[in-house]
Every structure is written in C-alpha cells, then in structure tokens.
Symmetry: C2
Subunit: 428 residues, 2 copies
Amino acid sequence: MKIYKNPARSRWGGLCARPAKPPRALDAVVAEVFDKVAAKGDEALKAYTRRFDGVSIDKVAMPAGQVERLAGRVSPDLRRAIDQAYENIRKFHQSQEPTPRESIETFPGVLCWRERRAIERVGLYVPGGSAPLVSTVLMLGVPAQLAGCQAITLCTPPTPDGTVGPAICYAALKIGATTVVRVGGIQAIAALAIGTESVGRVDKIFGPGNQYVTAAKQYAASNARTAIDMPAGPSEVLVVADGLADPEFVASDLLSQAEHGPDSQAVLLTDDYVLARAVKKAAARQLKTLPRSEITGQALSGSFCVVFDSIGLALEFSNAYAPEHLILAMRKAGSYVNKVSSAGSVFVGDYSPVTAGDYASGTNHTLPTDGWARSSSGVSLDSFVKQVTFQKLTRKGLSGLAPTITVLAQAEGLEAHARSVRLRLEEI
Amino acid sequence: MKIYKNPARSRWGGLCARPAKPPRALDAVVAEVFDKVAAKGDEALKAYTRRFDGVSIDKVAMPAGQVERLAGRVSPDLRRAIDQAYENIRKFHQSQEPTPRESIETFPGVLCWRERRAIERVGLYVPGGSAPLVSTVLMLGVPAQLAGCQAITLCTPPTPDGTVGPAICYAALKIGATTVVRVGGIQAIAALAIGTESVGRVDKIFGPGNQYVTAAKQYAASNARTAIDMPAGPSEVLVVADGLADPEFVASDLLSQAEHGPDSQAVLLTDDYVLARAVKKAAARQLKTLPRSEITGQALSGSFCVVFDSIGLALEFSNAYAPEHLILAMRKAGSYVNKVSSAGSVFVGDYSPVTAGDYASGTNHTLPTDGWARSSSGVSLDSFVKQVTFQKLTRKGLSGLAPTITVLAQAEGLEAHARSVRLRLEEI
C-alpha cells in the first residue's frame, strides 16, 4: 500500500484513474453466442452449459416444485439471515416509493403529470463462481417485487448436479421470481435479451458478473434494445479517516473490499500520517489469517493512501474519485455528509462497515463503480419503473398556448407542427 | 399508409419492430476524432469545424459579451414564446422535485436514507441542421438549472458567420449555461467527454443529434466513462383513435411526426375502419400543401394503420410497441390512462397534440424511441441528479445485525467481510 503526501492537484487525475479496462476482444464470442441462442433457443443454452460449465441440464427452467423442494433444505441459520436481510432491504426500498403527485396546471387549461409504471419483464443475473451470491437475489429481487414487475426471471449458473443451490432457491421464492433458469454466462444474458422457448425475453437486465457477462450485457443494450442496470466494474472502497479513527476498523474495511478480487480498489485518505502508517500495519497483520489472503493481498498491494493537509481536501479528492463505497471515519462524521457529492453509498461513523450495506442494513449493494458515481445512482426502486408523462389540454388551453407553440415551430422550420395546432382551433 | 386488419398476435412482433439501424460503420471515424481532440484540444475542434462545417471560428467558446449581444437581437415574438415555454417547462419540472424524506430505521440502531446530488458538470448538445432547435435548449437546460448543475456547457454547430443564432443565445442565457461552445458533430461530443483548453470535461451528455452525434455519444459512454441521456432514434407517434375522433386532427398529428424525417414512425390504431380510411385521405390532402412535403410524404408512406376489434386490443398493441409519443383520441380518453404501461409521453384527448408537448405545455420532449419506452423514461429533473444512499449504525445496531451479516458473508465465502463486523464488536 503506497502512501502519497499532499499530491498537487495536477496529479489528482492520475490518482483517480481506475486501471484500464481489458480491450473488448470478447465481442466476437458474444455475438456468436447471441446468434446461436437466437437460432436454436433452449438447445443452444444446454449445449453452452455443457461446454462452458461442464454440466448437463435436462430442462433450462427449474420446475416450480423443484425450487420449493430445494428451498426447504436451507439451514435454519441461513433462512433467518435471509429473512432478516429481506425485511430490511424491503423497508428501505419501500421508503423510496414517492408520494403520489397531483397533476399540475402549467398554464390555464394545460394539465401535466407523471405516472409510474413498473417495467413489465426484468431479468436478474446471479453469478455462481466460488460461492452463490444469495445477497444479489435480494438486492435485485426486492425492488423488482416492490415495483410490481410482472415477470421476474432469475438466471444463475447450475451447480455441478445441474440444479440451483438451496439458498438461491429460497431467496428466489421470497422475492417472487416467476422463473428460475439454471443457465449462466453469456448464454444467460442472450436468453434474457432474445428469449427462447422457456426463457421469456425481458425489457431490462440487472446484475453483476464477470467480464463475459458484462460484455454480453453491453452487447444486449447495443444490439437487442435491452436496457441494463449499469456497467459493472471491480468493487471499490474509499475511506476518509482522521487521526481518531480506529486503524483496525479501517484496515478491516480495506481488506473486505480487497477480498472481492485482485482488481478491487481500496483507497485511504487521511490528514494524519501516523494513522496511515497504523492502518498499513494493521492491514498487513489482519491479512495473514484470511482464507482468501492471496487475492486480498494482491488487491491490497495495488491500493494506496493519500495524506492531505485537511479533511476538507480529502473530501474534495473523494468527490473527484467518486467511489462506489465511501466510509466516513472521522469524529463527528455526520457533519461531513453535506460535503459528499459523488459516491455510490456512504457509511457514516465507526460502526457502519461496508459489509453492513452489502448484506443487511437495507441499502442496495448494486452501485456505480469506475467513476460512474459522478453521473449515476445505484440500483433502487426507481431502476424498476418508468415515469410516463401525460398531458391534457382543453380547447382554451391549446388556444392560449397557440402563439407560443406556432412561433417556436416556425422558428424551427416545422410547419406541420404549427398546423396540427392551428387546425384544431379553426372555427367550425 | 398501409392498413392492416386484426393481425394475429404472432404478427405483432413484426409490426412493432422498428426499421433496422444502420450498421455501426462510424466507429473508426469517431475514434479518430476523439483521439485528435484528446491530442490537440481546441486546435482539433477548429480544424474539424473548418472541415465538416466549412466555417472558421477564432475562439471555440463564445465570449459572454457576444452571447448577450446576440441574444438582444431576438424578435419580440420569439422572445415572448421562449419566455412562456420556459415558464411552463420550469413549472412542470419543478413539480418533479421529490418531497424530502427522513431517514428510516430499518432495524433498531440502523438508519438509512438517500440524498439527491446534482450531477456537477453536464453537456447539452443542440443540433444545428436545417433550423436551430431552440426548444432543445429549454428542454435540457431547464431541468439542469433546477437540479443545480454547477457547469452547464452548451455545444451547437456554428452559423455560417461563425457565431450562434440569437434565439439559441437568448435561451442559453435563460437556462444559465456557463459556456456556449460553437462546435457541433462528433468533435463537440469528444470535447465534452474528454475536455479541451476551453471546453471543460462533463459527467453526462444530453441531447439529440444525427447518426454521427449518436455514434459519438455511444462511444463516449463506452470509452470515456461519460454518461449519456439515451440512444436517440427516429421520432415516433402512435395514435389510438375510435370512430368519434376527428380524422383531420389525427392526420395532422401523423404528419407533424412524419415531418421530422423520412425515417420517422407514425402509426394509427383504431377499432373503426371508416376512420382509418378517412385519416388516410385527410393525410394525403394535408400533405400537399406542406413545405416539407417530400420528407413528410416519404415517412408517411412507411407508416401504417391497424384496425383492431376493440380499443382494448389497440392499447395492448400500443404497450407492446412502446411509442415515444402516444395520443389517446377516443371519447373519454382520460379513462384509458390506466391502461397505458409503456410510452414516453401521452397526449390525452382532442386538444392535446404532440406539438404542445414538443414546445410549450411543460413536459419534456426528450423521450425514449425505438421501443426503449418499455424500460426507460424521458429526460426529467431526475436525469440531472444522483441519489446517494447513506447509512449510520450504532454499535448496538451493528451488534443486532451481526448474526445476519456474518451468516450471509460466510455463505458467500467472504471471511474478511464477516471479520470487519466481528472485529468492531470485540470487547475492549
């Protein structure tokens, strides 16, 4: 972990840059899989699952009875944990439901309003990998359920025995998934974007994944008119800490981010050089006893610390970096909340580790990485709905606005536009 | 205008399909322009403006004094029209400001909340083309201003004399643009995404444009981590009309959409064959006296009408099509609002032509085309802000959630995550 001291502003850009993304050499592979899935449907999904996952599946979609049977096998501890996380996530996302608004009269006789509509068909991608990500099911499924999406299709790579793990099944039932599909990777995204005999085409695809899944999502957005939640990048944490922060706590937060993968970003900003040194030492010690110490150590060695003259400067840098997760580990941390302008999710004070938000506090863990927090929000109830605008004008309303409309339409050279108004107001 | 009668549901997909997009052969050109702008900055912008627009500009950004001087030349009629449109757009977008929410306690000792933050730096692209689109300045600028964006950079191609039209200048001042840049096309998008000596890099780019601008925006999103409002496609209207609708009104709406360009989409759905014939006839007659009759006629000949057995079926089809603009031209049109699930903006009743929303009623005219209304909303105040989530746990709150968090972290094989919680709760 490298420590920088008071870098000149001209160097901030370089420090804020994330590692370059691998070139998009995957496009040809992705296009081939999409074409095959379009041509062969379920057969293609089964063939790719055999080839890429080494697993034979008889049916692509899990029969409902099987999902229920498997869900019954979750241990009581894990069931309780899923239930509690579900409740908290539900409470927080329910609070995002906006107060319904009346229509407003922008001009006499001109009523305008918005109405929310659920996105009808959504696809949730749940990565398999080293461990099934049951938390992803909750983070994507709870807002989909609250929004009232009609079809919720969950795709996840099969287990070696060709099924889906009990915890995923249990969570899928809780969030009201309408179909559980035991297919992962590019072929899963292709199925969601195009549709097959047993996987209905969806309007929007959510969920994290490896570089193949990410490339497939971007391909679906460009070529199959399927919306995606966001481009997913390596996980990130930025901690702003003053001299009173507990170095052990801070080190544990950096490590839990680094644990995600060798390309995870962990950054510490502080106004206290002694703290920086103490965190570095604590991280090295804590690392030794971690089971994923190799991956974690790799990520940690690529991470850095910047010692600034003041916490104010540190927060300015943080906004320029726009981290996925931001921890405020200062005395009176709450008083700095107003200074945060760009971050995915913010953790305030000593007892708010990122892990709490990853699993159970109720906030969403699907967040913008790679600087996208400058312009984008994490997944929320809003991600599963559209806002449709409506307007209703009376004849008098249209008549009152007619001079404005026709002058502007003619200034833009659009005569048919002007006429669609004038014609309605001609005396009969 | 082709008329279909009661097509089988299996044919709906084909009817809902938009014309295939031209292949993305522009990527190489776009990449070259981006590279040049990155290397040469303002010089590259001037060179491209000479080459592509045939105009020499001395400075890329308009001096503030010049913008004010030019704005003073707007005719009183046009000024009044801009003022009125500005007021209405402002009122409607202000009504989108959400009621501030308190934080909610999802679990004892666990507080979660969201706060809105303006996107700091936004770029508004205003196409030149046959006529300057002053309405675009208002539709993008008003919500940017209301959101509180700090830097609002407006880019538009220069007029032949190397300046920017008076109406654009007047509107730019109204919406509080911080810089007016007289550059258009790919090079304008490159400047916004990368930044040059006189054009600050932005976080999100908004605005319509031709295929070059659209390709450049997509390139900026994929390669320069710059957010974009939406992929822009040809304009669309879908009218649902019953036998009591006025065929002249309906025809004028189809024509005003067709006027945008030869690839515009205009669709009529009805339950009355007689109306369909009457609209077709009226459109042909109205077309004759339009100044842009060639373009408009081309678009009209590519458009179609479907006669269904019922208005209910027509609305089902409309939702499957997901039009940018939807006109409800039925008796008691308001009673069908609930049945609309996918559309960009909806115009209710006889006196609500799309043109009203294009210019002056207050709703935004930057809307999803090409079926994206299934998953996306038009531009609104929301497009210029981010929602940042926050959480603050007490020691007791973390302690209460610890079993849930650690069980889930361990189920996912993430030991460092579990430790970041346990370590905070160890007795001192």
